[in-house]
Symmetry: D2
Subunit: 387 residues, 4 copies
């Protein structure tokens, strides 16, 4: 079994727990789970959710069933098994500021240092193997040096993001208990891209995977750019618009949160093409009735042979949260396998396929197709996948 | 130098010769030529066109300059150097039936066997290294056994396609002169997919590359399907429409020519996805004012995680002939390299990237991105590309 | 009340009866019914379906409930009221040839003349006010002169289409009983465009409305062309593709049925623009999993001020049958009003908005927006709509 | 002849003067000019540009030829006749703040009141009939009462926009000379929507036309919404993105300028549908290499009959400035005709078709198709158009 703790019980987490339970029940095909067709050492049935954390007072104290029912119950059957999992109070550090009025975290009454200790105490009992960070996109910066991060935590500094605090707590839990864990960061906060965090996970003989789960239009854009590069077409410009109606899009109407996203999306252009083609790639807007199904519009022009110009237009309607939830199923399985195999720090081959801004910091984006096959090679080399 | 003979002096051939000469003159960037960024043993400057063949009486006897000027002179500067290359009478065998009224080939007055000998005699003088087959899409079937092909030629049979006749003549020229050559088949007629032809090229210690140059919407579709497969999304259906105004689209309004194309396009779905998702992938129509710039419309729906449905719509405006011409520049260079390195028969690694229906017959389609990287690996293994 | 007979119990008819009953029950908003926002002399509640006719042996003898349940029961609740309406054997005349193997019509055992009399006898009892022709698209030609039509019926000629036979029977029923009726032809068979039929309805003091209900991409194209014309933009070409998975798309894979559709769609270009811009406007293909929801792709280029070129691309996913069913609700109400007001023959103002090929034969297509406002003016002039 | 003064010598003005001169020379078809197909009392040949004003020091003191050559000379032939027209220093009032560093207007050294007098003095000599306001989108608010506007001008207030100052000057010129003039406001600044300005033009027996020329995606959206409304479809939401690379898009990256545009675009939804469907309709971004050719993406979902949902996706590539320039040709002709016929104040019928935010303030938006036909009716009623 893989014991999983969820950080942030929103739409993605709700799709994740509902989907996994439905697959366990044999009600659902494992579509949207990249490596479902290979026989990995852990099956989807081995995933067990043991606790969830949030800072929205509407959710804290409820069961995961209650929250999932309120978020996705109108379109999906919510399995009763989820009534056994509780939503505990987590760390806030302003991560919902401006979005949820009365969000409250453990650190509000305990201070940050003590809040982290409280979490570690809980985890000693729960014994998680894997942590999944899917809180709302928050402003966050790397600390670069581990002692700076520790200093900031010590001083209750507002520079510490909720993601950093959770990642720190998980690593400390690993160090203190001697258990190796994996921490998966599916949001833009720089963790696998923060040398301070990577160093910490090396110390903890644990694995940090991140940053920013590669769903939506960006992986498609990456593969399209690879398609262009492989034909030596000269991309004159690329425009990519995004609009949705879920909390994440609402969060992105706040400029400093939007910047977090723009940063992780834009790096792909130069990394894949080899030159920085002019581009406009940003989450563009929020329109509530779109709900979790976003609308993506893309336009790209390029120069082909003999100097002539071709144009490409893409429109898509994509369910936002399930796409990430599907990736998380495999991230949980693969990161646990890596821990078992003795990997530590961050693992570029995993990040390159699953993440928009693959760590470590100096790493480049590559097309997702290339990344998929390199990850497959890694899994074969460590005797995890055969074929 | 690489001495090249063109078979079929249409739009693609005109773009090819004009583009190569403009690049030699330093007037044009090598966009649309896949491997232009690598330093291959032959540069683009090493390509020399030495003769062209056609069966349209309007073209035969003219220079390549004249034909190129009439076809692309309105949009591109046509270099004077092309006045030195003549368009000779080639083999017809009905390849323009219904499209050009009074098309006439050498075999009309000489018989097929003698026509082939006439070509070989010319080539003994011209000494070509590489043949590029870009005649109009024609109905054609594989012979499977070499003696059946030889028997049909002997008997002046109408079952022999112009492509088969040209490929046969080129191989015989190689055998008789002891010179190893490469024959590139960029149209749907099965040559690299015909065991008879592959056997013949093995005998001739020469290389046959084909079939059907991978341009337009199909390579994009292949890479999109790979993108779906790598996420284990379940494709419910895929529709792909195509309309253009050049001779090739006109040819495809004739049902038996259209069938040739549908066959090479459809095989990618099952090969890449692993199941035969319902699809409608066909050249759809002809509308003269679209000219060489085709309009492609695509729609795809798939099931993602938790059983939800996503949709993708693509519209594109693509210059048809330059795309293939750009590929041919590299096909000429790479196939000559392979000949130099002692390859014979057909070479799947080249076909898989450059062709819609990669030979040999039993080969599968793979995504173009995968194929690109496998070809790059081959070129590195034989010390052609370094990095 | 308006007593309605349905001819052809397929998808459209099923949507029509289900939708109207759901609106009567107060379960459904009247979306998709153009004049629902105006208070017409007949409300939607006044529509009463009294009988349905078909020639598919699977349907004949069943209730409308049974058929509707099998066709749309997976997505819509099918009201129990529909169990009271029977599906009777109608006239075949080859209208399902090649689509349904063992289709049988009254004329097979009675001969055409006697079959028509049998229908009239039934209608004397049922007393319908309005007939709605929604059989599958069939090959059909106008008779132009009434005596030729009567002669053909007399002689059991295979030139008589099922639509002609039904329209003839309905008019004869009107003449014989002295009751004025309306016949709505929502398929491409030329009835309102056949002077023979228009003359017959004049004689019968009844109204014939047609031909070919204006749903799907064509009305949108008409309004887009009007948009271009009003800015004096020069349309260089227009392409419109259509693919679906219902019986009507299957029918259109048969070339002579497809021709019927192409004819009614293409006439709009010259009528609205004033010149025959090059166009490709055809039902393009059939792909079963698309079901009743078709995919439409459109591309249009035009010259704007200073000779520059603009491009427009449209993709749409449209439920095919409900769109027509919504129009039929108003066609039933408005045609009954016209009968009450003493109109006879055909009524261009109604046809121009609701039909793709508005009769009478010499009439032009106009944009649907213009047509809507002219029809509104007519309804105001005859005191039917106030505002 | 119609003597025209241009205010703002940017891309639109350059297209306007180049296009009109090319049409006069017989070099260009009048595409993109809505009423070119009707014979109006003034032909396009009657338009004479007599002066232009700007505040960019790079332009002031040059000829219109120089400016047009630098802006559109790469793609269009610029007629020599334009060398006779000078670009004079105009009024700035911050209209280029943040876009052009050293923009300077007459009011900088003269004060506003005196700057206006200086313009009037120039116009006494030049004798213009029509003024065309096409300066860059600027922040501006209505004054509502004429005395407030006069007071602000008297006091050199920064609340006065350049558009207000120009419109005021033109009206004063009309009053002082007794000549009736027309002022066409093609930018979002509220002039025809400012009761103060409308009152002033009534006094001046002159015509104010505005506001915000209806080009680009918004007229198309208006006609699409009308298309929906006429079928009583329930629009669930509408998204419209816009990105371009000209100065106007750059200006719209400044939030308060963007707001000006959003305001004029959004009002159409409720006006046409009758309910305020959720919408996101905004100029979205700036990407320099797109130049004057913008990319528009649109998505709309609606409920059709039986409660089912349809989707529509539109992508367009539209030359931005020529579209407005084409409208201006007719606005110049028609507004001069209205002045000749004795109209005064503002004329809704003209505004409704040609403007995004048609004045007067209390007026509603209607679909452009309806507006076109109402304007045509007006022109027929005053004996200007016959048919």
């Amino acid at each position: 079994m893989i014991r999983v703790v969820i950080l942030g019980q929103g739409m993605v987490a709700s799709h994740l727990v509902v989907g996994v339970e439905r697959i366990k029940r044999g009600e659902l095909q494992p579509y949207g789970i990249p490596f479902a067709k290979y026989s990995l050492p852990y099956s989807i049935n081995d995933i067990e959710f043991v606790a969830s954390y949030d800072v929205d007072p509407v959710k804290v104290g409820k069961t995961v069933y209650d929250v999932a029912y309120s978020l996705v119950g109108d379109t999906l059957p919510v399995p009763e098994e989820l009534k056994k999992i509780s939503v505990y109070e987590g760390i806030h550090l302003g991560s919902l500021k401006g979005l949820v009025d009365n969000a409250v975290g453990l650190e509000h009454r305990l201070g940050l240092k003590e809040a982290i200790n409280r979490l570690i105490d809980q985890w000693r009992i729960i014994e998680p193997d894997v942590f999944v960070n899917i809180i709302t996109t928050e402003p966050a910066k790397p600390f670069n040096e581990l002692n700076k991060l520790e200093h900031a935590i010590e001083n209750n500094s507002s520079k510490v993001s909720a993601s950093h605090a959770y990642a720190y707590a998980a690593a400390k839990y690993a160090i203190e208990t001697g258990k190796r864990i994996a921490f998966i960061n599916a949001i833009p906060s720089p963790l696998a891209n923060d040398p301070a965090i990577v160093e910490l996970y090396n110390e903890a003989k644990s694995v940090i995977i991140g940053d920013d789960g590669a769903t939506g239009a960006t992986p498609l854009t990456a593969d399209l750019l690879e398609h262009m590069a492989e034909r030596n077409r000269f991309v004159e410009f690329i425009v990519q618009f995004n609009i949705g109606g879920n909390t994440d899009f609402l969060a992105l109407t706040v400029p400093e949160r939007n910047k977090m996203k723009e940063f992780t999306k834009s790096s792909i252009v130069e990394d894949i093409l080899g030159y920085n083609a002019p581009h406009y790639i940003k989450p563009t807007g929020y329109l509530e009735p779109l709900g979790d199904k976003k609308y993506v519009a893309m336009h790209l022009e390029y120069i082909t042979f003999n100097g002539l110009r071709d144009s490409l237009f893409i429109s898509a309607r994509i369910n936002d949260s399930p796409a990430l939830a599907g990736l998380l199923v495999d991230l949980i399985r693969i990161s646990k396998i890596l821990v078992d195999k003795g990997f530590r720090g961050t693992v570029y081959e995993v990040n390159a396929f699953f993440m928009k801004k693959p760590g470590p910091r100096e790493a480049k984006s590559i097309s997702k197709t290339l990344a998929y096959h390199r990850l497959l090679d890694l899994l074969k080399n460590i005797d995890v996948v055969k074929y």
